[in-house]
Symmetry: C2
Subunit: 144 residues, 2 copies
């Protein structure tokens, strides 16, 4: 359970909002599709709100919707909004600074992390939410 599925769920949420453009969608409805508790959805919606991707409203006709067109939202933005850590962690304890490897390994690994991050971000900047919902539709079509 430890690995982070927030990106997956965030994309799911946003895809649903994108599909019903303008109409406000309730967390309860999204939760049924994601197959989880509505609070899990609202927690994520809160993060997405902080990152300017959605707005929500309380009350009878409440719910959430996108702040922009799906074609203007890159998956990279979603990733940045919800991502917490790096691909791999560095040492839990500071290595021995009297050893040349211990002294320098972290700097080297950080550079590697940065390079990998760049590669990931490049990939994720290629796709927008619009691409995702088009894929959803073409996958559905394939079945038929």
């Amino acid at each position: 359970m430890a690995a982070n599925s927030q990106f997956a769920i965030a994309v799911h949420i946003l895809a649903m909002l994108a599909k019903s453009c303008d109409e406000r969608i309730k967390s309860d409805y999204i939760a049924k599709s994601v197959n989880t508790n509505p609070v899990v959805i609202r927690r994520l919606l809160s993060t997405l709100y902080e990152n300017g991707l959605v707005v929500s409203q309380t009350g009878m006709c409440g719910g959430s919707c996108l702040t922009r067109k799906a074609s203007d939202i890159k998956l990279l933005e979603v990733y940045r909004a919800v991502s917490t850590g790096e691909i791999f962690s560095l040492h839990p304890n500071t290595p021995d600074q009297n050893c040349s490897v211990g002294k320098n390994i972290q700097t080297i690994l950080e550079k590697l992390q940065a390079e990998i991050d760049e590669a990931i971000e490049e990939k994720l900047s290629r796709y927008t939410l619009q691409d995702v919902i088009e894929m959803v539709e073409s996958e559905s079509a394939e079945i038929v």
Copy 2:
């Protein structure tokens, strides 16, 4: 503490073995440089052994050493040896298959994962252990 630092420590271990070519290194010695318990090192050495990167020997003059030249060990191999999961997890529970998004989102995300993995592997295949120890030395030189 939950995030996985095995790749970082594995590179550290292997860099130390690479630096003292042929000579067997004890887990206790590596543990001091990594600043952790020797068992943590031995556990990782065991994984690296399973992946054909090191051999170890018990006894008085025991210890571990590389099976190949440092220039023949790509960081990609190290990554594959110790990596457990993907960059992001999919949904913890199966999404609602009666919803077009729920039905297809995982397939789409898996494709994205595969693309990202490929990008990471490409990056990691560019560097060998030899590069790492050269970086260790040039970093050390910079200080002087």
